[in-house]
Amino acid sequence: MSDTGDNQYNYDYDLLYKLVLIGDSGVGKSNLLSRYSNNDFQINSKSTIGVEFATKAVKVDGKIIKAQIWDTAGQERYRAITKAYYRGAVGALIVYDITNTKTYENCSDWLNILSTNLENNDIVIGLIGNKKDLQHQRSVPIEEAQEFARNNQLLFTETSALSNENVEKAFTELITTIYENSKHQTGMETVTKNNSSSIGAGNTVSLTKSNKEKKSSSSGQCC
């Protein structure tokens, strides 16, 4: 299922999940996202300034879930700005480059930044080792990353945005886990409408055409 060209009003989804992509600069976050949302890969895509955004709809358990994914700039300088986007996120992927140890080591920093900037600890986090196609340059052993993921209760996948390996799997796994968790837990902030106003009450909140119609009154005017 693809939602490219999804530029007009559409309410044909049951759930809306906000996800964020974080990690060091140059590990391939933007390409993971464009591969996932658009099946597109550019060997030299421009660096992300601030944040960029894409969506994708997937079907889980007969429900259509729309993932609203925020791709953030990796440079340390932008952390102050990008962390504002973590608000309301129900899932996050921390990405590193398997050929660059430093980007892997920084994952624990990213994990800290994420947890200190979220009011809600029920966020589902996945660890992604990207650039799997560059096996000959690997410097992060898969076992070590697996161990790190296990100790921190993170999902873990190695991906290649270039060869399109495991990309879909990584995102789907994240979304499915969020969905499963939300079914079994109460009080979890599973669904957000758009980016900012989050709906925290109850389990899963269904956004169908009818009940979504106008939730819009919230922040019309200010100052």
Binding site: D6, N7, Q8, Y9, N10, S25, G26, Q42, I43, N44, S45, K46, S47, T48, I49, G50, V51, E52, F53, A54, T55, Q68, A73, Q75, R77, Y78, A80, I81, A84, K193, N194, N195, S196, S197, S216, S218, S219, G220, Q221, C222
Partner: protein, 489 residues
């Protein structure tokens, strides 16, 4: 000062012989090489031709030796010098002075524009920066872009006699810095911080203008990497910020054009095609690269200095501009504003990049290069006030610019300049907000039929790939109107 007069006369005349191609082109726009900047490179030219012509070398040596203590850099000037009375030398350009009335009668618009620039840049020894600024706001023809930008940014002083001397100094300073910092495309001072900066710049250079061939050449990548690294070292408190690499390329490409055009007279003066598709190694020496980098470095530095608030920690300049964009929209187009609010769109979500990269990510490069004519004109008001002063005061005031120009230490802080520039900073950032507003307003109807996802997706890749100079000129005019309306209402 004691000058051996007779020798001088002979030297000068031999000067105009050896560099005749440059000299003509300097003053005659209809020649194939109308670029004023070429004459600034007279020294390079003479040095190069010295292989074929032994006399040139002798002449140059003499000249340097004889006038090493002179304030005026003779070799920088082209044209005839005659000795009048005592110590006074009168400078007259070789070609006839352009006549204003004649220029007005030229029918071809582009020709007319070229003549106007020619008139401002080549008629007087002291260039009237104010006039240049007004003219270039509306677009600078390619052959004059480089010199105009350098003048408006105050890299070159309005006194043309000092150009060569200042270029020499600045280029030397840059060269020294680079030789202390970088060797064989690796950094010398391997601190953790430096390594990180170098790495960040390197990975960003790889993905700078991926759509333009020029930026894929190894020569250009390494060259830009040096410029950005030197800048980051100089501004260690700010450091390298993603996005300034884009801004740096505007200066690089415009100054590169000079070298490209110099190489072959028959090249099309109105097109970027050649520059964007040729490896500069084919037409540039190692020294040329250093000089190009130095000019880029200094102009980029001066330009950024005026918008530094955008890049210091926390980026307050950007936050302020985004807020102002939002306020403007709320006031001028409440309907659009309400719609964005209803859809929970935050201005920050789409406008951060607009501010951080001065809209460079939203337009094709050629459109950006036109836009920068106006932006540089907007950022140059410090110099304007100087030109309005009478000659004597101007000399003193110019020392402000000179001080910078003679400063040989890259790491030195231009505190006095910075304070004067804070007003210009606001000026450019202020105007930029209105350009962003005009840009947003272009899509108002479309945006109002979209939901959150649609709006954000649309605004992060606006349909501007087919934009040309006319589109950006229209946008700039609209921005100017909005600015006037909002400021005086």
């Amino acid at each position: 000062m004691e000058y051996p007069r007779t020798k001088l006369n002979r030297s000068i005349s031999s000067s105009s012989n050896t560099s005749s191609i440059n000299l003509k082109s300097h003053h005659n726009i209809s020649q194939q090489q109308p670029n004023r900047t070429f004459s600034l490179m007279t020294i390079n030219h003479t040095e190069k031709s010295s292989n074929a012509d032994g006399n040139t070398k002798i002449y140059k040596k003499k000249l340097t030796k004889t006038f090493s203590n002179d304030d005026d850099d003779w070799s920088a000037n082209v044209g005839k010098y005659t000795i009048e009375n005592e110590d006074k030398f009168i400078y007259t350009p070789i070609e006839e002075k352009p006549n204003l009335e004649e220029i007005d009668n030229i029918e071809d618009k582009y020709q007319k524009l070229l003549e106007k620039f020619n008139y401002i840049l080549n008629t007087n020894k002291i260039i009237k920066i104010e006039e240049l600024r007004d003219l270039s706001w509306h677009g600078t023809p390619l052959p004059y872009k480089s010199i105009t930008w350098k003048l408006l940014l105050g890299y070159l002083p309005s006194n043309t006699k000092r150009h060569e001397q200042i270029l020499k100094q600045k280029r030397k300073t840059y060269k020294n810095t680079i030789s202390q910092q970088i060797k064989k495309n690796e950094i010398i001072q391997n601190t953790e911080n430096n390594k990180q900066t170098w790495h960040q710049i390197k990975i960003d250079i790889k993905r700078t203008h991926p759509d333009i061939k020029l930026y894929q050449y190894q020569s250009v990548k390494e060259s830009l990497q040096r410029v950005l690294y030197a800048w980051s070292i100089r501004h260690s408190s700010t450091g390298y910020v993603q996005g300034i690499n884009d801004i740096c390329t505007t200066f690089y490409q415009v100054f590169l054009l000079d070298y490209y055009l110099k190489k072959d007279d028959k090249k099309d003066l109105n097109s970027w095609d050649g520059v964007e598709n040729t490896d500069p190694v084919e037409y540039m020496s190692e020294d040329d690269f250093v000089n190009l980098e130095a000019d880029t470095f200094w102009c980029f530095d001066r330009f950024l200095e005026s918008i530094m608030d955008n890049y210091v920690h926390g980026q307050p300049g950007i936050l302020k501009q985004v807020k102002k964009l939002e306020d403007t929209c709320k006031r001028v187009d409440p309907e659009l504003y309400q719609h964005l609010k209803r859809e929970n769109v935050e201005f920050f979500q789409f406008a951060f990049r607009w501010m951080n990269c001065l809209l460079m990510r939203e337009f094709p490069m050629r459109v950006v290069l036109r836009m920068f004519d106006t932006y540089i004109a907007e950022s140059s008001s410090l110099l304007n006030t100087q030109t309005e002063l009478d000659d004597d005061t101007k000399k003193k005031k110019n020392s402000l610019v000179m001080m910078d120009s003679t400063n040989d230490d890259l790491s030195e802080d231009f505190s006095s300049l910075t304070t004067s520039q804070s007003t210009t900073a606001q000026k450019l950032n202020d105007f930029h907000v209105y350009v962003c507003y005009a840009f947003l307003e272009k899509w108002a109807t479309t945006l109002q039929s979209m939901d959150f996802t649609g709006i954000i997706m649309f605004l992060q890749s606006c349909p501007t790939t087919s934009w040309d100079e006319r589109d950006i000129e229209m946008l700039l005019s609209e921005a100017y109107l909005w600015q006037s309306l909002c400021q005086y209402s």
